[in-house]
Subunit: 331 residues, 4 copies
C-alpha cells in the first residue's frame, strides 16, 4: 500500500486525487492547498486529511507526492520532495524555465527518487494504440507527423499572462507527442520553425501572446513534423494526429460522446468531439496514475520521465524564439 | 445514505457490486452468494461483509437489494424482498415464465416497494441519446425500427439448456428496445413473426434452440420493427439500431475501443466494436444504478419498471410461439 | 458494330439511349416513342433517327432493341422482338403478371435470342464489389442479409395506381438483391412474410397500396433475409444492404455527392446520400449496358437473365399474397 | 459550336480530348502530337483529324486550342496561340520559369484572348463544395488551412530530372489550393518556409530533388497554412484539405472506389482512396472543360486564370528558395 499526498485541490488536483483514491494498492492520505476550503472539501469527499507540504514532506509514512499545484510552484515542490525522498508525480510542465527544469531533473537524479511528468496524452487509449502499432512496425518507418490540437475556446487574456505563452502552455503537449512518435529511436529535432497570429481574440495580442500557431520540425534523420493549433475550435476540443510511415498511415481521430448519427434534410450528422480535456482525457488521467504505481512497483521505466518534460520545454523555448525572430531555429 | 446488499457474486454481480461501492450516497453492506469463496473475495475487495439472503432481508438497516443471482432465483428473491419491504434492483429477466413474472410485479405493487429491472441498454449513452432525440421530435414521428444484435460468439450448448431459448435469453433486450423506441406513447405490438435457423453451431440444434433469428413486429399504430440477431459475429459484439422517422433517421453505431484508423495497402481500417457486453455496456451498468438511486431519492419513475420486464417477456413468449408454429402471432 | 433501337424516350429511356450512344462498338440507330416530340428531341441529341417498333423489328440491320417503355408494353415488345430475332435489353419488370413474364421467358428461349433484364443495382460499384467479395469467400458462408431501401419521397397516388403495388414496383429490386446475394449457389426462398403500413401519405391507402413495408425471407438452407422499405426518407435515397457471413460482415453504404465534412457547433456533418436513383445508379446504368454488349460479343452469360426477372416477380407476388392474408407464404 | 484542337496525345491529352469530344456545343477537330502514331490513334477514336500546331494556328475555323503537351512547350504554344487569336486552355504549369510565365500572361492580355490554366482540383466536386461553403460564410472567417497531398508512389528519378523539382511539379497544385481557399479576398502570402527530405527513394537525392516536403505560409492578414506532401503513400492517392474558420471547420476527405465496409476479425475496413489522379480527378477534368466553354459563351471570368498560374509558380519558386537556403522567405 502506497501512501500519497496531493498538492493542489483545483481542477486538475481533483481529477488526480479522485483517481488516486480509486486505485487499488494506493491510499490517498493528504490533500494540500492554500485555499483551505477547497482542500477541505476534496479531502472530505475522498476520506483524506488536509495537510501542508511541510507536514507531508516531513512525514515518513508518505511515499508519494502528486503535484497538481500552479505551474510556478512545481520546481520548488519537486526539489523539496526529492530531497525528502518522496517519489513524485508532477503535472506538466516541470517549469517554464528550462534551466530550472534541468535543475529539477538533476535534483531528482541525485536523490534517486522516481519522478514522472503528467503528459497524459501518451495514455490516451487512441494515441497509445497508434504509438504501439508504430512501434510494432505496422506502418513501416515513420516519415511525417501532422498534429492538430485545438481548444474549444480561448481562456481569458488574464490567464494567459502567467501561462508562459502558447508554446509553453499549450503546445508543450504537442511537442511531447512529436518526441514520442518521431523520436523513439533516439532521433531528435534538428530545426524548428514557428509562426502564428492573433485571430481569435485581440485581447490576446496585448498579453502579449498569439492564439493560432503552426510549427514545423525537421529531425536529424530528416523526418518531418507539422503542428497546428488554435485556442478556438467552434466544434469542440480537436485532438488528432496522423503519422505517415513507409508502408501506411495511422490516424488518431477525436473521441465522441456518443455514436448517434442523425440523418435529415440537413445532412448526416455525428456528435462533436468530447468537449474539452477533462472529458477527452478522463481515461488517460486514470491510466497514467495506474502506470505510475505499476512502474513504482515493478521498477520499470516511466513512459514520461522528467527528462521528457525538460525536452518538451526546450522545444517550446525554441518555438518562442522562432516566433520572436521570424527565423528558423537550429537546435 | 442507502444500505445495499447484493445477491450474486458472479460476473454480473461483481459489476453491480463494484458500481454500487463507488456511488456517492450508497453503502455496499453485504454480498450473498452460495459460492462462499466468490462472495468472500468480492466482499473483501469492496469493504463489504458476506451475508445470506435471510439475514439481509431480516436486517432493517438494509434499504435495497440488488439481485444478480441466476435467473431461476429472481422471482423468489423479488417476492421475498418485496415482502420484507426492501427496494429492489433486479437483473433481467424477471422470470422465464410470464405468469410468474406477473406475480412478481403484483407482489411488488402490493408491497409498495420500488423495483427496477436491469435493462441496461436504455442507459447506454448512445442508445439513450437517440431515444431522447426521438422523444424531442428531432426526426418527427417514428415509423420503422431496425435492431441488429449479435454476440461475438455462441455460448456452449450446455449454457443454452437453461437459458429459456434465444428469444428469452438474448432478444429480451431487443424486445425492450422495441418497446422503448416505438411504444413510448402507449402503442403496443399487434402482430409478431419470428423465424430462425441453426447456422453457427449444430450442437445448438440439439438443445434444442436456434442461433440466428429474425423477428418482425407491427404495432397497433402500424409502426414496423425488424430485429436480426446472431450468436456469432466474427468481428465482435454488434449492437446497433436505427429508427426512421417522418423527418429523418437516427442510427446508433457500435462503440470502438479506440479511434485509430490505419491505412495501408489493404485498405482503411478502424477498430472492431467493443468486444462484448461487459465492455460495451460498462458505462450503461454504472448509469443504470445511479439512475436507480436518483429515482429512489427523488421519487421519479424508473426508466425500466418491472412492468417493462413483464412486457418484454411476453414478446419473447410470442416469438417462441411463432417460431414453433411457423405462423404470425396476433397479440 | 451493333445497331440498336431504343423503345421509350422518357426518363429511363433517355438514360439508356445516352449510354448506348457513348458505348464503343455500338451505334444508336433509332428511338421510338408514341410521344413524337420527345422521341424527336432525344434522337436529334444523339444523332439517331425516329422510328417505330414495326419498322425497327422489320429492319434486318437492327441487332438489338432496348426496351424502356412503360411496364405494360414490356411483354408484348419482348415477344415481338424475340420473334423478329433481335437481342433484347429490357428494363425491369418483365411483366406485372408472373404467367405473362414466364411466357416471355419461354418466347426468348424458343427464339434463341439473348435477353437481359435491367436490374441495374447488380452493376452498382459498391453492391457489385460486395457480391464479389462474398463470392470469393471473404466473409465465409452467407447467413443473414438486411436490405434497406427507401425512396426520398412518395410518388403521387395516381402513379401508384398502375404500379402493381409496392412489392412489384419498388421491392422487385430488393428481391433480386436477395436472390443475388443469398441464392447464388442454387438456394431459393422457402418461406416469405410481408407486412406493411401506410405511414407516409394517407392517399396511398386509397390506391390501395402501402408505403412502408418489411419482408422476411427464409431460404431452404436456413439463411435469413430482412428487407425494410419506405417511400420516404427525409434525408434522401437510402440504398444499403449488409450481409453477415460466418467469418465477417459486408456493408454497402450510401454514395454521397461529395466527401466534405463540416464541423461546427451543431455537430460533424457529412453529405446526404445521392438524391435518387438517377444519381445513385448513374454508373450502374452505364455499366449494365456495357456488360450487355460484352456478353453479346463474348457469349458469356448475362448477370441478370430473364429468368431472374421472373423469379423476382414471383417473390413480389408472394409478398403481396402475404400482406393480403396476414400469413406466412410457403414457396 | 466551338472548334477545338488539342496539342498533346499523351496521358493528359487523351483525357482532355475525350472530354472535349463529349461536350455539347464543342467539336474536337484536330489532334497534334510529334508522336504520329499516338496522335493518329487518338484522333481516330474521337473522329478528329491529325494536324500540326502550324496548321491549326493558321486555320481560321479553329476557335480554341487545348494545350496538353510537355511542360517545356507550354509557353511557346500559349504565345503563338494568343498571337493567332485563339482562346487557350492550358494544362498547368504555364512555365517552370516565372518570368516566362509572366510573359505569357502579358501576351494573352495583349492579344485579348481568353486563357484558362488547368488547375483541375478547383473543379473536384468535394473541394469545390468546400470552397463554396467557405465563400458563403458557413464556417465564418478562414483562419488556418492544412493540405495533405501524397502520391501513391514516386515516379522514376529520370522523370524528376525535367520536372523542375517537387515544388514546381507537385506542390504547384497545393499552392493554388492555398490561394483559392485563403486568399479569395485579396489576401496573399507574406512569408513562406519550406523544408523536406529524401525518405522514399535515395535516387531522388541524386536528381537532385526531395520526395517529402512540408511548407508553411503566413498571409498578410495572419492566416496560416500548412502543406505536407510525399511522393509515396502506401495506401493510395491521398488528397485532402481542411480549413478552420471562426465558427467551424470544413474537411475534404478522399474519394473511394466503393462504399463497401468489411468487418472481420482484423477490424472494420473501408476502401483505400481512389488510386491516382486519373481516377480521383476524372470528374474534375470533365468539369473544368465544361466550365471553360461556359465562360467563353457567357463572358464570365474563369475560375483559374493565367494570373493564378503565375502566382502559384511564384510560390513554388519561393519554396525552392526556402529549401535551398534553409531560411524563411519574405514575399
Amino acid at each position: 500500500m502506497k501512501n500519497v499526498a496531493v498538492f493542489g485541490a483545483g481542477r486538475i488536483g481533483r481529477i488526480h486525487a479522485t483517481n488516486l483514491a480509486a486505485l487499488p494498492g494506493v491510499r490517498l492520505r493528504s490533500v494540500c492547498d492554500p485555499m483551505a476550503a477547497q482542500a477541505a472539501e476534496l479531502a472530505s469527499q475522498l476520506g483524506a486529511e488536509v495537510s501542508t507540504p511541510e507536514a507531508v514532506l516531513a512525514d515518513p509514512s508518505i511515499d508519494v507526492v502528486a503535484i497538481a499545484s500552479p505551474t510556478d510552484t512545481h520546481s520548488e515542490l519537486i526539489t523539496r520532495a526529492a530531497a525528502a525522498g518522496k517519489h513524485i508525480f508532477c503535472e506538466k510542465p516541470v517549469d517554464l524555465s528550462v534551466p530550472r527544469a534541468q535543475a529539477c531533473a538533476q535534483a531528482v537524479r541525485a536523490a534517486g527518487v522516481a519522478c514522472m511528468i503528467g503528459f497524459q496524452r501518451r495514455f490516451d487509449p487512441t494515441f497509445n494504440e497508434a504509438q504501439q502499432r508504430l512501434a510494432r512496425g505496422e506502418i513501416g518507418a515513420p516519415e511525417m507527423l501532422v498534429v492538430t490540437s485545438r481548444d474549444p475556446g480561448a481562456p481569458p487574456a488574464q490567464y494567459l499572462r502567467g501561462s508562459g505563452g502558447i508554446f509553453r502552455d499549450m503546445l508543450i503537449h504537442d511537442f511531447d507527442i512529436f518526441r514520442w512518435i518521431l523520436c523513439s529511436d533516439g532521433d531528435e529535432a534538428a530545426t524548428l520553425y514557428a509562426t502564428g497570429s492573433v485571430l481569435v481574440d485581440p485581447a490576446i495580442a496585448e498579453v502579449p501572446d498569439i492564439d493560432s500557431s503552426v510549427v514545423t520540425i525537421r529531425t536529424r534523420k530528416g523526418r518531418l513534423a507539422q503542428i497546428n493549433t488554435s485556442r478556438r475550435a467552434a466544434y469542440g476540443y480537436d485532438q488528432r494526429f496522423e503519422v505517415l510511415g513507409s508502408t501506411g498511415m495511422l490516424q488518431c481521430g477525436n473521441h465522441r460522446p456518443t455514436e448517434v448519427v442523425q440523418s435529415d434534410a440537413q445532412g448526416v450528422r455525428a456528435d462533436k468531439p468530447e468537449h474539452f480535456f477533462l472529458q477527452r482525457y478522463r481515461e488517460a488521467y486514470r491510466l497514467e496514475l495506474a502506470h505510475f504505481f505499476e512502474c513504482l512497483q515493478s521498477g520499470r521505466a516511466f513512459r514520461t520521465t522528467i527528462e521528457d518534460g525538460v525536452a518538451a520545454q526546450q522545444l517550446a523555448d525554441a518555438a518562442a524564439q522562432s516566433l520572436a525572430s521570424g527565423q528558423v531555429v537550429v537546435l
